[in-house]
Each structure stands twice: as structure tokens, then as C-alpha cells.
């Protein structure tokens, strides 16, 4: 018993650089259970505490079509907290996916839609649609998602073009171009929101620039509930192509990947997904950057394992962060982006130090 325990450790010490990855199925199972527990906690905890057993009984009645028991528990659980917890899970999963996809697309582990300014572009698109009176585009908010998608796509194209001038993708150049353009766009977004004279304006600015899950309701869930699983399937189907892309365009071409087409599709899919996520939750910082990084350390870089695990971990992370946001202060809730920035910025500094400080 002792031998079997210590043997792998000895082997790992003997060969430096030995990757120690955990089977993805196990990781996914653990994350899935943790997500279920976190969702239960998210619905249970809050200004009014509702025991988990009661949470599941309300959910069970709703799912089986039994008439809800009279009382406020049903309202709080089913109308307020369950949609919000599910929105956190969907947005978190989407951020995990979009981060993984963008990092493969630009072949840069320091990229995510927020750092590259794409999220801010999506925010500007959404705000512009509201200000111009295009409205939310029906009950499901498809119009808002569409406007956010156009903002994301335009910004991505701009950042891409700026970063590619002079050829290649210097990692730092890409990130700096994204940060600069993103800041410019967020200034513009703030201006647009503030000049409407809406009394909710400060709250709106916070929503679009810091991200928030406070707009959750059942109808809001519809678009992300379709888009996030669809994106997972689409990306997973191209897992081998994404892997090949990590090695370089020429290598991918030599492996029979139609690189131009895959790039174009990835461009569109990441913009759509960013648009959908921003339309329901604003621009949430750092989740899309951190989640794929953390998951790569555990299951390795193969996208066929990385994508589902990133989706699960992103969901778990955002559900937990949202619990913190709702319960940290008695009087009001924190925008979810405040907490993700507090965790994410130090993580980014650490990554920068590891990648640039070592001179590689």
C-alpha cells in the first residue's frame, strides 16, 4: 500500500516536467456535485434563510407540476433565487468556455474577452441599443443580445487588427491593445448611460461595466440556456482543431485543419457568446481568464477535456461568488464583478510574473 502510494511521487521527482493531471471524468464528477451543492446553498442562503430540504421540496413540486404550497417560500425560491442561481451557473459556464476559446483563437493564455475589451464592446452595443430605443427586442432580450454581439464582434475585429499590425501576436501587445480599446469603450458606455438622465443610471453603469446578476428572472435565462450548451457542443466538436491551433497555424494546416475557416467560426462563436453573456450580466472581469488556467493545471490542455471542465468550474465559481456578493453586506449587494476583480487581478499579476518575469 505504501509502495503504491509513493511510487508515482518518486517517478515524478525523477523526471522534471512530468505533467500530473487528474482524470477529467473524476474532476467533472466532483465539480458537478460541488455545483449542485453550491446551487442549493445559493437558493437557501440570503436575507431570509430557507433550509435546503425546503428548497428541494419547492423545486420538486414545481418540476413535477404539483401546485405550489401557499406562502412566501415558493416566491423566494422559485421566482427569485432559483433563476438567479441558474443565471450565475450559466454565465459562469459561458465565461469558462469563451475564455478557453479566445485563448486558443489568439494562441495566448493571457487573453480573455474582458482583457481584450470584447466584453466592453458588447456592453456598449447593448447600451447603445437601449439608448437608441431599440428596446430589449422582445421578452427574451434577443435584440439586446444581438446588439451586444455586434459590439463584441466589432471590438474583437478592431483589437485583432491593432494587435496584428507589425505581424504576429506579441502577447503583451494584444493585451495592451485590448485594455486600451476596452477602456475607451467603457468610457463611452458610461457617457451614454449617464446622459439618459435615468434615475437608475448609476446602477446601470455598474451593471454594464462591473457585471451583475441582479437582473435574473426566468425569461432572462432563455437565451443563455440555449447558447451556452450549444457553444459547448460546437467547441467540443472542434476540440482537435483547437488543440492543433495551439501548436501554430502551419502545424494545424498540416494536420488537415482548415485554419482560416476555424478562425472565422471561432471569432463568430466567441463574439456571440460574449454578446449573450454581457446582455444578461454585464461585463464580468477575469472569470474567463482564470477558469481555463486553473482547469489546465488539473486536467491538461486537451480541449476535449478542458472545455467541459472549464464550463463546470466557471459555473461553480460564479455561483459561489454570487453568494458572497449577496450576503457580504447587509444593506445592499455587491456587483459580481467587484468580487471577481478582487480575486482575478492578483491572479493576473501572478500569471504575468510567471510568463514575462521569467523572460520567456
Amino acid at each position: 500500500m505504501l509502495d503504491t502510494l509513493s511510487a508515482p511521487r518518486r517517478a515524478a521527482a525523477k523526471t522534471p516536467g512530468e505533467a500530473r493531471t487528474v482524470p477529467a471524468g473524476l474532476v467533472a464528477a466532483v465539480l458537478g456535485l460541488a455545483l449542485l451543492a453550491a446551487l442549493t446553498a445559493a437558493v437557501s442562503w440570503g436575507s431570509t434563510s430557507i433550509p435546503p430540504s425546503e428548497v428541494w421540496s419547492v423545486v420538486g413540486r414545481r418540476l413535477t407540476g404539483e401546485p405550489p404550497r401557499p406562502g412566501t417560500d415558493d416566491l423566494i425560491v422559485w421566482q427569485l433565487r432559483v433563476p438567479r442561481a441558474l443565471l450565475a451557473a450559466l454565465v459562469g459556464a459561458g465565461l469558462g468556455l469563451v475564455g478557453t476559446a479566445v485563448q486558443a483563437l489568439v494562441r495566448n493564455p493571457l487573453a480573455d474577452p474582458y482583457l481584450l475589451g470584447i466584453s466592453n464592446g458588447a456592453s456598449l452595443g447593448a447600451v447603445a441599443a437601449i439608448v437608441l430605443g431599440l428596446g430589449a427586442g422582445g421578452a427574451l432580450g434577443l435584440g439586446l443580445s444581438g446588439a451586444a454581439f455586434l459590439g463584441a464582434l466589432g471590438t474583437f475585429a478592431l483589437v485583432w487588427t491593432v494587435a496584428r499590425r507589425g505581424g504576429g501576436f506579441a502577447p503583451l501587445r494584444l493585451v495592451l491593445a485590448g485594455v486600451a480599446i476596452g477602456q475607451f469603450l467603457s468610457g463611452f458606455t458610461s457617457y451614454l448611460v449617464l446622459q439618459t438622465g435615468d434615475e437608475q443610471q448609476t446602477h446601470s453603469v455598474l451593471f454594464w461595466l462591473m457585471g451583475s446578476l441582479s437582473g435574473a428572472s426566468w425569461p432572462v435565462l432563455a437565451v443563455p440556456a440555449v447558447a451556452v450548451p450549444a457553444a459547448l457542443l460546437w467547441l467540443h466538436a472542434r476540440g482537435r482543431g483547437l488543440n492543433a491551433l495551439l501548436m501554430g497555424d502551419e502545424t494545424a494546416a498540416g494536420l488537415g485543419v482548415d485554419v482560416t475557416r476555424l478562425r472565422r467560426e471561432l471569432f463568430t462563436v466567441t463574439s456571440v457568446l460574449t454578446g449573450v453573456l454581457v446582455a444578461v450580466s454585464g461585463a464580468i472581469a477575469f472569470v474567463a481568464l482564470m477558469v481555463p488556467h486553473a482547469c489546465r493545471l488539473v486536467v491538461g490542455g486537451d480541449h476535449r477535456r478542458l472545455l467541459p471542465v472549464s464550463a463546470l468550474f466557471g459555473a461553480l465559481l460564479l455561483v459561489v461568488v454570487d453568494i458572497v456578493c449577496r450576503t457580504a453586506m447587509d444593506t445592499q449587494e455587491l456587483p459580481v464583478g467587484v468580487v471577481t476583480s478582487l480575486i482575478g487581478a492578483p491572479a493576473l499579476l501572478y500569471l504575468l510574473d510567471r510568463r514575462l518575469g521569467s523572460g520567456s
Binding site: 522534471p16 505533467a19 493564455p109 466538436a237 482537435r240 498540416g254 488537415g256 490542455g301 510568463r355
Partner: protein, 271 residues
Amino acid sequence: MRIDIEDLHIAYAGRTVVSGACLVAAEGEITGLVGPNGSGKSTLLRTVYRHLRPVAGRVLLAGTDIRELSPARSARHVAALPQERGSEFELTVREVVAMGRTPYKRAFTGDNAADRDIAARALADVGMAEAAGRRFTALSGGERQRVLLARAFAQDPDVLVLDEPTNHLDVRHQVELLALLRAQRRTTLVSLHDLNAAASVCDRLHVLQEGTVVASGPPREVVTPELMAEVFGVRAAVVDHPLTGDPLIAFDHRTPAGGRTAPALEANPAG
């Protein structure tokens, strides 16, 4: 399978790089591409492994224009080792080699036992079997190159296309890699900077100059003092290698081609 390149014209970044190149890579032979910097070697190879699209002309794989095949289908026959050197991402050696199976796989299908066997054999062929579980980024330059070659072998190709495979390798790793290629006996199209290496391992050489093939043939016929002067602009003698008998190009590292000495020396012959 043989490769025929017919009257190939390729533009890259708005500039014509290859204009009217014709050459043949015969079945089972190592065909070398040599030429000065910018002569179009890499560009030509990129068209063979379909990173670039030619403006005109054709690349024939056993008589079929590769552009009539889907990218995946031609990648089952032609494997490439470009000059790209990898990735900052956390891939293991095993995962990198397994990528060679990409052209055989549909969406949502994992690697089966046969795929894993092929990948393991490819890794063993390059002498890196023990490194399977290591991170690719933790390898040395020579080890990385061997792993990338194993990835190309895992594609189980009829034709190998290699762009300067010995670049950045120390001399021992260069020799090992070239010996590995010779042992494979696959149709191989390889660009090489080192003319002596090319003359020694290739069955046939094609010399590129400004995007066209200016000389073709067995190394002994192609590698001449005249060609060294005309194409490469250097003075050289060609002698027999004392160990192998291959043509050995002995460069004159002091005097530019044409016998003219450096201007400073000319002005002051006594010095």
C-alpha cells in the same frame, strides 16, 4: 506516393515568392530543397502542406491535385513539420503526438486503442517513449523537435514535408534526426540550410533561386563550385568526404565569390 510540383506560382504577403517552380519528389526518396535565404523554400513547402494556396500551378499527390482533396484527406497522406516550435499551453508529449491522428477523426470521437498504439510507436521511433507523460514545454529544443517529428509519423503519412528540421539543433541532434529520416524510407521533401547535410542525406537535390528551380539532380551532380558561386555567392571546393565518400563542400570563409578579396584587403595588399 510521389509529389509532382508543376509550374507553381505563390504570392505571400503581396509579393511573388515562387514563380514557376517545377520539381518531383520521387517515391521513397529523400528530396532536398536548398537555396539562399528568401529563395522560396519554405513558401513552396507551405503550399505542399496546404498552409498557402498557390496563385497558379499544381501540387500533385500521386497524380491527383491536392486541392481536389479535402484538407483532412490530404493530411492523411502528407504530414508536415513546419518551423513553428510549439506552444505555451499545458500539453503533454503524449497529447502533442496524438494530434497526428487529427485528420483521421470525426467530431466527438476519441482516440481508440489503434490510435494510441500508432502514437506510442511513433514516439518510440524517435526515442522519446519515456517522455510521454512530460509537459511539452519542459523539453529541450532537440527533444521538442523529435516529438514534433513523432507527431508527423503518427499521421502515418506517405509523404513527409519538413521545413529546416535541423534548425536550432546542435550537431549531434542534427545527425540523429537526419539518420531517423533516412531510416524511415518514406517519400520525404525537406528544406535544409546546411548544404553538406543536404548533400549527404538527400537522394536528389533541387536548388531554388528567387522562386525558381535552377538546378536538380543527385547531390554529386548539383553540388559544384560553379553553383556555389552563382547561386550562393561563395567560393567553395567540392571534395570527397573522408569518412562517408559523400560530396563535401569546403567553403572559403575568407573570400567572397568571384575571387575578389575584401575591399579593405585589396586596398592594402601588403597588410
